[in-house]
């Protein structure tokens, strides 16, 4: 196990990058603590797989350094980094049996036969393929093949880190929960450093202790799931995490008050002075109140989400989503107000601290 530092990593796939737009990764400077469970969360094309491949050495960064426990490994090839990686689609060795597939990474590193057998037996139990051990891997289902891929990733006990690149894409939804729970259990038991790439917020939030949200080649926020939910540091995080995402309203700032159209909304505190072209107020649907006070709202539609319902409204020409309990009443002449605890102010998409907020 190791701590992994990414030191000012920039990466461009084309030769001779000039502007920021040429970089798939703009500037990533992060630390992955030894034994931590991390998720890299972001939409397709945000650079999360590139970042993972840079950590494993499959891709050499254009600029910056990768450090394992403080040792510079940027120039080391993948096979010397002692790292495990599981890919989106199952990779199995067709000609080998399930056992041989699992034994392959161990044999390549010259482990003794007896030891290999012990490790492989243990891993077969963990991935639930003990009975298929001697079967040819080729004839198995996609689920089972991906379990073999996972098993090959987990079979080495001494790896510096285990990287997962959307490993559950091909797995049935039910099996997903089970495998994720198993990964989490393995993490608790062996304390691997794990990095899990996904675009699925549920997957990221349930798997990881710390989630790194990526957007257009940058890490926009790192935090525990609750932090990402309560205080998104970038409007993208607010929008991407949560269902539905945060309501983002363009406003004009006036001291500790913002103006949305002709309406004034009092903030829980005033921000420090800043310069910005664009000021926005972000409020999660869970912190919008529907009642008889506040701004006049027009109800557009109500979506039934099971235990909760989502009310889509228009306020001062803007769409605002509200999450209500199943039984909550929707008044005829509805007005909306915002819970001060859930108000976030954004200057040019980045969150600014409000002085005087009671947290």
């Amino acid at each position: 196990m190791a701590r992994i530092d990414l030191d000012s990593i920039r990466h461009a796939y084309g030769a001779a990058p000039k502007s920021d737009a040429d970089y798939a990764l703009k500037r990533v400077h992060q630390t992955f603590d030894d034994g931590g469970a991390y998720a890299l969360l972001g939409p397709s094309g945000c650079g999360k797989t590139s970042l993972l491949n840079i950590m494993s050495g499959l891709v050499r960064p254009t600029e910056g350094k990768v450090l394992f426990d403080g040792r510079d490994v940027t120039e080391l090839p993948t096979e010397k980094r002692n790292i495990a990686q599981v890919f989106q689609f199952p990779v199995i060795y067709d000609t080998m049996s399930v056992r041989q597939n699992l034994a392959f990474p161990l044999r390549n590193r010259g482990m003794r036969r007896g030891e290999v057998k012990v490790r492989v037996d243990e891993m077969l139990e963990i991935i639930g393929l003990a009975r298929q051990g001697h079967r040819r891997a080729r004839g198995l289902t996609a689920d089972e093949k991906q379990k073999i891929s996972l098993g090959r990733g987990l079979v080495r006990a001494d790896v510096n880190a285990i990287l997962f690149d959307e490993p559950l894409t091909v797995i049935d939804p039910q099996m997903k929960w089970e495998l994720r729970a198993q990964l989490k259990a393995l993490h608790r038991r062996f304390g691997y450093t794990m990095v899990y790439v996904t675009h699925d917020q549920t997957e990221a939030l349930t798997f990881a202790d710390r989630v790194m949200v990526m957007y257009e080649g940058e890490v926009v926020q790192v935090g525990a799931p609750a932090e990402l939910f309560d205080r998104p540091s970038h409007t993208f995080v607010g929008y991407f995490i949560g269902s539905p995402g945060m309501n983002i309203l363009p406003v004009n700032l006036d001291g500790a008050t913002v103006r949305l159209g002709e309406h004034a909304i009092a903030l829980p505190g005033a921000p420090k002075a800043f310069l910005a072209k664009k000021v926005e107020l972000g409020v999660r649907p869970e912190f919008v109140r529907l009642g008889r006070e506040g701004l006049p709202a027009e109800i557009v539609r109500v979506e039934d989400g099971g235990r909760l319902k989502i009310v889509r409204t228009r306020v001062a020409g803007r769409d605002i989503a509200i999450v209500l309990q199943e039984g909550a009443e929707i008044p005829a002449d509805a007005r909306v107000s915002f819970d001060p605890a859930g108000m976030n102010l954004y200057a040019d998409s980045w969150r600014v601290e409000l002085v005087g907020v009671s947290q």
Binding site: F87, Y93, F104, G139, R152
Partner: protein
Amino acid sequence: MKTENQKAWLLVLPVLVLVAFSALIPLMTVVNYSVQDTFGNNQFFWAGTAWYEQVLKSERFWNALGRNLVFSAIILAIEIPLGVLIALNMPRKGIGVAVCLVLMALPLLIPWNVVGTIWQVFGRVDIGLLGAALTGAGVDYNYVQDPIDAWATLVLMDVWHWTSLVVLLAYAGLAAIPDAFYQAARIDGASGWAVFRHIQLPKMSRVLTIAVLLRFMDSFTIYTEPFVVTGGGPGNSTTFVSIDLVQMAVGQFDLGPAAAMSIIYFLIILLFSWVFYTVMTRNDGPEILKAEAVAKGRAP
């Protein structure tokens, strides 16, 4: 559900007629010749299996067949590994790909008799680049007089002409392997040999089966090139079955034995191809059966 629609026959008919005229009727004519004797004037006498017995007992036939087998074995042993080796070293992207592919396709575009002519001239000791150069370098080379030189020339010619086919097939097989397999192999610490043995070779096995079959059938029926280069000589040293056959049928007008020989030759090729195919695809057998069983089991 059973619908009778005889109109479908109309659509198949042209092909059936074409195949009948191009393959079935000639084959049947040959069968006809092989069991009869004729002295011209379109008069035929029943000969039974006499021609077959004659062919099977003749040393000439077995020698020619032996040459065919040795020739096929040699060129397969060279062309398949060489083709794979070249394909492994060809560039995967960039302008080099197009250049390599065109270079590889060139020999395949040349008509067979032209290939023969090229090598016939190329190997001549007086004016040929190869022959004259070797002679100039002090090597005792003369494909017209020395059987070994004749064989070497034919093998070299076939390798030059047909290795490209193996290369192109193997390259197509390699190009179909997703990057993730190579990445996973690097993660697993696999050696270059292990990558070849456990990823590239299994993924190429299907196209290589086709390559072996094509090259075997082609080389086993080889005619034009040795006919042009050596004409079967020196002596009978490069007389393959097909050359012998033509000599017998067209040269000596022994239609009966020639026809019997054709049938035997045809059956041997069929048998060998079947054996090759069965052996090389036997690994898939249980998988295919299983897949079928699953499909049947799940069918409503």
